[in-house]
């Protein structure tokens, strides 16, 4: 590893990570961040255990049934055919992300991103075992002894445990949780389940315990392009340079520069250079150098500085959520959310439209998925008496929650022209598909008049949900 520290000025391809020991802090943003963490963890870890009555599938509120190829989300069931809902959902999520970024910067990064949440939890564990920042730094520097081994061991052990529970909870979404649990611990699950847990445990551990802010800085693609979403009106944590530095810069309070009046008289700013804002930052940056791409807008430095300002009796808000425009103006006003901008309004409208579409899409879903394909090889068959026969493959997917019986019929041509074998009435199990072959034969005299025929698929339980589909009838080769 000596190579890494080669010559001070050498152009290294790799910068060794400088360990960060974020100090804990109390305050509004910390409280908000913790609440989001608790809520997100509660949802993530408990959701698979939420029971939900269903007649034909496990009683689990959220279940991704890969084998049955359907997703249960409370009372909604999604099939592969419902791809459009998924795309809408993804679009909404993306637009929502852009919308909030335009408005309040990297709020997603700071409070909601998995990487942030898990890193935060891991830091909690670290602090709980090893103590506050100075204790952790001391522990890091001290030579290996029983204490260090015990504390590091305990930290990593707990980290691995949390990583494992995370991975384990993930697979609970893909089966009936109580049954999966029993099978998991009796080593009765397929290899892929254990492999998934292993991979997720390792990646969680690596990302949240070892890589941390490096994921945000070097790996996260979202971090790369959100810069372009910032506008001068966007709110982000800013250090009020004018106020903090005055004309003579910041300074630690000493005799003669203690009170605010003394300092202002000397041109010294309000920042007492305590470094607290830097110590609490999980990204390890100094916000006083201005807005930086590593900053995840977590607001912890705001909390930190507000606490300091309180303790020295200066007004709060030396570091605050503000817009670039406001903070750089001569007389900054109160920071406020600025909605009325083309971009935010545009995203807002896009979100509303897409949400409307999604709701429509979900509420208007039919319980039958029907596709009818003409057999193309051969396109048509001439029968011995000169009649023309076309064949069709009718695929019926039952997307309702119970067994359905369907009647297949045809409109507009004589009854006897259709041959469905033994399957003019078929029953299809919930979530399953069935293929029925239909032979339609028409006498040459009729062929010239009929170019299209209509299949009608009627669920016998609720005939008003019948689906009609038109198909072409071929009698000569085209082109």
């Amino acid at each position: 590893m000596k190579n890494l520290q080669a010559g001070e000025n050498s152009e290294e391809l790799f910068q060794k990570r400088i360990p960060i020991y974020p100090r804990s802090v109390k305050g509004t943003f910390r409280t908000f961040k913790t609440s989001v963490l608790v809520l997100a963890y509660a949802v993530y870890f408990l959701l698979p255990w939420l029971p939900w009555a269903r007649h034909d599938a496990p009683a689990q509120a959220v279940l991704f049934d890969m084998v049955g190829r359907r997703f249960f989300i409370f009372d909604l069931v999604f099939y592969p055919q419902d791809l459009i809902s998924l795309s809408l959902l993804m679009f909404i999520a993306a637009a929502l992300l852009f919308f909030t970024t335009g408005l309040v910067g990297r709020a997603f990064c700071g409070y909601f991103c998995f990487q942030t949440l898990w890193t935060d939890a891991f830091i909690f564990i670290e602090k709980w075992v090893q103590g506050e920042r100075p204790a952790r730094i001391r522990l890091h520097k001290q030579p290996w002894n029983a204490e260090k081994v015990a504390k590091y061991g305990a930290t990593h052990g707990l980290w691995l445990l949390l990583a494992f529970i995370t991975a384990y909870s993930f697979i609970m979404y893909f089966g009936y949780a109580p049954e999966l649990t029993q099978r998991f611990f009796t080593v009765d699950l397929p290899f892929v389940a254990y492999f998934t847990v292993l991979i997720l445990t390792v990646t969680t551990y690596v990302a949240a315990a070892l890589a941390r802010e490096q994921v945000c800085i070097y790996m996260c693609p979202y971090a790369r392009f959100q810069g372009v979403m910032y506008e001068p009106e966007t709110l982000a944590p800013y250090y009020d340079l004018q106020r903090g530095e005055g004309t003579a810069g910041r300074a630690v309070p000493r005799a003669g520069s203690k009170t605010r009046e003394e300092r202002h008289a000397k041109g010294i700013g309000d920042c007492i250079d305590c470094g607290f804002c830097v110590q609490v930052c999980p990204a390890g940056i100094d916000i006083r150098k201005g807005l930086q791409y590593q900053c995840i807008s977590c607001g912890l430095c705001v909390d930190a500085c507000n606490n300091i300002m309180d303790s020295v009796g200066y007004p709060k808000g030396l570091i605050r959520y503000d817009s670039e425009i406001n903070i750089e103006s001569k007389n900054p006003g109160k920071p406020h959310l600025d909605w009325l901008r083309l971009r935010t309004l545009g995203y807002g409208v896009a979100i509303l439209v897409m949400v409307g579409l999604l709701v429509y899409n979900i509420t208007s879903r039919s319980e039958i998925e029907l596709s009818i394909q003409p057999v193309r090889q051969p396109l048509f068959v001439v029968l011995s008496n000169g009649d023309i026969r076309n064949r069709y493959q009718i695929h019926i997917t039952n997307k309702s929650q119970d067994v359905q019986e369907y009647r297949i019929s045809v409109h507009g041509i004589p009854e006897g022209a259709v041959d469905l074998g033994e399957m003019s009435k078929v029953s299809v199990r919930q979530g399953k598909s069935l293929m029925v072959l239909a032979n339609v034969k028409l006498p040459p005299a009729m062929v010239s008049k009929v170019s299209e025929i209509e299949f009608v698929i009627t669920p016998l339980k609720n005939p008003d949900q019948a689906v009609i589909k038109k198909v072409r009838f071929y009698a000569k080769h085209e082109g």
Binding site: N3, L13, V382, S384
Partner: protein, 307 residues
């Protein structure tokens, strides 16, 4: 590459100097690169212990990983790991997955299969694969056949009969269609011309009335066509003689002929030269009884020929 002079870049060099100022930079490798390199070394060691790796004269080191599979005859084999054995294992797994369905098809009477949607769907998909592998070369992928070569299996005309049993018999034992040549010694050119006109008229074509009449007499008399095709010309499925009264043609491309003359010429050719080419190879021995049964149902129910 190394255009920058060492004074300004300050990168460490190996210390070698050529031509007065040519030096070699000595940049450190990134840690991740180094570790990835070590990991690949460890991986390669593990790999060659487990899997076939080093060539040794005529053989090779086989590694300690093995694969056990049953071949299609049910004989269990264990060998060192190889992609071929892996394929055999995959095939075995696939066979085992399909087996319950094949068994069910084998145990179910033909009529019951058609009534069972699940089984019918299996036949439609498994049958398609079997058909593509074994039958499509002649009958084409959709079973539509080929004029003057292989009959269309999707129409309703069956030279040897289109019931399940007949189809099964055709697949199992194959078929060989023969029609004696009538040209030369038996009939002269104009007689054959008349016969062709008559045969075409049977399928509803408008032909020369005089020739049709003459052909009718030849058909039932001197030509001795009735011996095979029957007095009503409807053919005999037991010997595979064609029904001449329907609109389906196999050996004479009547639907493809542009003019009346060409139709006559096509039929004349068959009458005068006869046929010895309607040969379908027996599949018995190539395919198992279960596969033949599945194909029978596929041809009958799915291709639509039987229905």
């Amino acid at each position: 590459m190394s255009q920058g002079n060492s004074q300004s870049s300050n990168v460490k060099t190996t210390g070698h100097v050529w031509d007065g100022d040519l030096q070699e930079l000595n940049n450190p490798l990134p840690a991740w690169w180094l570790w990835a390199f070590y990991v690949t070394i460890i991986f390669s060691v593990v790999y060659w212990v487990a899997y076939p790796a080093w060539p040794l004269g005529k053989g090779f080191t086989t590694g300690i990983a093995t694969i056990t599979y049953k071949n299609d005859k049910g004989v269990e084999k264990t060998t060192h790991w190889s992609t071929r054995a892996l394929l055999m294992k995959d095939l075995q797994d696939a066979r085992e997955k399909q087996k319950p369905y094949f068994d069910k098809v084998a145990a179910t009477p033909y009529e019951e299969i058609a009534k069972n949607p699940e089984l019918s769907n299996f036949v439609a998909s498994a049958g398609k694969v079997l058909f593509s592998d074994n039958c499509a070369a002649c009958h084409q992928s959709g079973g539509q056949g080929k004029m003057a070569f292989a009959p269309n299996l999707t129409d309703d005309d069956w030279i040897y009969g289109g019931t399940h049993d007949k189809i099964q018999a055709s697949i199992t034992n194959g078929r060989h269609g023969i029609m004696p040549a009538k040209g030369g010694a038996d009939l002269n050119e104009s007689e054959i011309e008349s016969l062709a006109n008559y045969v075409l008229s049977l399928s509803g074509e408008t032909m020369d009335a005089a020739k049709v009449k003459a052909g009718d007499e030849l058909f039932h008399g001197k030509g001795s066509c009735v011996a095979c095709h029957g007095a009503d010309a409807k053919g005999n499925k037991d010997i595979g003689s064609a029904n001449l009264t329907d609109k389906i043609w196999l050996w004479a491309d009547v639907p493809g002929a542009g003019s009346a003359d060409k139709k006559v010429a096509a039929v004349k050719e068959v009458i005068s030269s006869g046929l010895n080419k309607g040969v379908m190879p027996a599949q018995n021995g190539r395919l198992s009884a279960d596969q033949i049964k599945l194909l029978t149902v596929y041809v009958h129910d799915v291709l639509g020929g039987g229905r």
